[in-house]
């Protein structure tokens, strides 16, 4: 059994997932973390383009892949993730 499956961490709660997404988005979009809210639309409020969302997906996969082996955001699901809240829900459902 791979060693990483033995890593025991407490499960992430909703606030921790939101904080993680907000921090990564802040880096990608070069905006202050405090300006990102859970109800924000990626395109309308944060002006994130498709490449920025892919950057976010890759960053989350890298971060969460260590915690939950095989964690992946499917490309076809990206189209349905319209808001920060959608992203938080998606991640929570798959951890």
């Amino acid at each position: 059994m791979p060693a990483e499956t033995h890593v025991e961490r407490s499960p992430m709660d909703r606030q921790q997932v939101f904080d993680l997404i907000r921090d990564r988005l802040s880096d990608i979009l070069e905006v202050e973390p405090s300006s990102i809210n859970e109800g924000d639309s990626f395109t309308d409020d944060l002006e994130a383009d498709s490449l920025a969302l892919i950057e976010l997906a890759e960053a989350l996969e890298e971060e969460l892949g260590e915690r939950s082996v095989g964690f992946r955001i499917e490309d076809e699901d990206l189209e349905d993730i319209k808001t920060v809240r959608d992203a938080v829900d998606y991640v929570l459902a798959r951890l």
């Binding site: 070069e30 002006e47 383009d49 490449l51 892919i54 997906a57 890759e58 490309d75």
Partner: protein
């Protein structure tokens, strides 16, 4: 120096012309090169050039974002990873432009403080140094603050690439007056008019310029959004091609054709995109040269040469210093 990673599978003429260009770059420019691509496709071509194996090829018409995510063993992604992992000093590709940008962005990352990378394309100017046009297609929709960063990065590129000490930066619009243009242009004009905007890059804002100014020596860097920049670039390319064709047709029927063509050849060489070494993706944390999809071996030689020059000039560090932190 680490080798330049050349995407051997990207481009209309890959792998033949690309590998030939890489071999010539070693012989003519003395630049170390490592190919990236399918071993079987390159076995008979590569001679003693080193190879980073990649089993997949991203097509010229593939969706950039999803192809980079799903084709992790593609030559483009592996080339970008080679730069990230310290196995190559820079990457060169004549493949899918959007995928090259996405690969570089996702694997090398952005320079801290850069909102969006931009494609800087040299536009030939007869009798003078080329004008740097950016963004030539990376970001279809832009914000004014991004265009200010494009101006800062374009100025650094003009200085390091062409030795322009104090680059003159123009904002592409539909009239020289500051009142002309769409809301993005007007907002950007106001930001660039602040002397502090370009202070770190040592450049000077000369106001709005028009499309007809791009191929003159009135300006060194022309800034615009990626949609407009790409339209301008393709319009200039098509216009120059049509002009060359019509001049050749007109001369072909005359008795002075040979003499006239000999006199025109140096001008043709000035305007030939293959001589300019391709565009550079500015704002990513590494050197990435994007060549024309129809690149010949000569274009690859020049792209490798530019990549090496930009690495030796430390352009990433200079860009880092010139881009104002938020």
């Amino acid at each position: 120096m680490l080798p330049i990673a050349v995407d051997a599978m990207g481009g209309d003429n890959a792998p033949g012309e690309i590998v030939e260009g890489a071999r010539r770059a070693v012989a003519e420019a003395g630049a170390p090169v490592v190919l990236v691509g399918r071993p079987d496709d390159l076995a008979a071509l590569r001679g003693d050039l080193d190879l980073i194996e990649a089993s997949q090829v991203i097509g010229m018409d593939a969706d950039p974002g999803s192809s980079v995510r799903t084709m992790k063993d593609s030559s483009l992604v592996r080339a970008a990873e080679a730069v990230r992992d310290g196995k190559a000093a820079a990457m060169v590709s004549a493949g899918n432009t959007g995928a090259a940008m996405a690969s570089a962005l996702l694997r090398m990352g952005r320079i801290k403080g850069v909102s969006r990378p931009a494609i800087a394309t040299p536009i030939p100017v007869p009798g003078s140094t080329p004008t740097v046009l950016l963004d030539a297609g990376a970001n279809a929709e832009c914000q004014a603050a991004w265009l200010v960063q494009f101006a800062q990065m374009g100025a650094v590129f003009a200085r390091e690439r062409y030795g322009v000490e104090a680059p003159r930066v123009g904002l592409l619009s539909i009239g020289e007056e500051s009142s002309k243009g769409n809301p993005l242009v007007k907002e950007t004009h106001a930001l660039l008019a602040d002397p502090a905007a370009l202070a770190l890059s040592g450049a000077r804002f000369v106001g709005n310029v028009e499309g007809r100014d791009i191929m003159t020596d009135e300006v060194d860097v022309v800034v615009t959004d990626g949609f407009t920049g790409n339209v301008a670039l393709k319009t200039l390319e098509g216009g120059m091609r049509a002009l060359v064709r019509s001049v050749l047709d007109a001369l072909g029927a005359t008795s002075v054709a040979d003499e006239a063509l000999a006199a025109l050849m140096p001008l043709y060489a000035t305007l030939d995109p293959d001589q300019h070494g391709g565009a550079m993706l500015l704002g990513v944390d590494g050197v990435c040269i994007i060549s024309h999809g129809s690149s010949s071996a000569t274009a690859i030689v020049n792209a490798v040469r530019v990549a090496r020059e930009m690495v030796e000039a430390g352009i990433v560090e200079r860009l880092r210093a010139a881009v104002a932190p938020r």
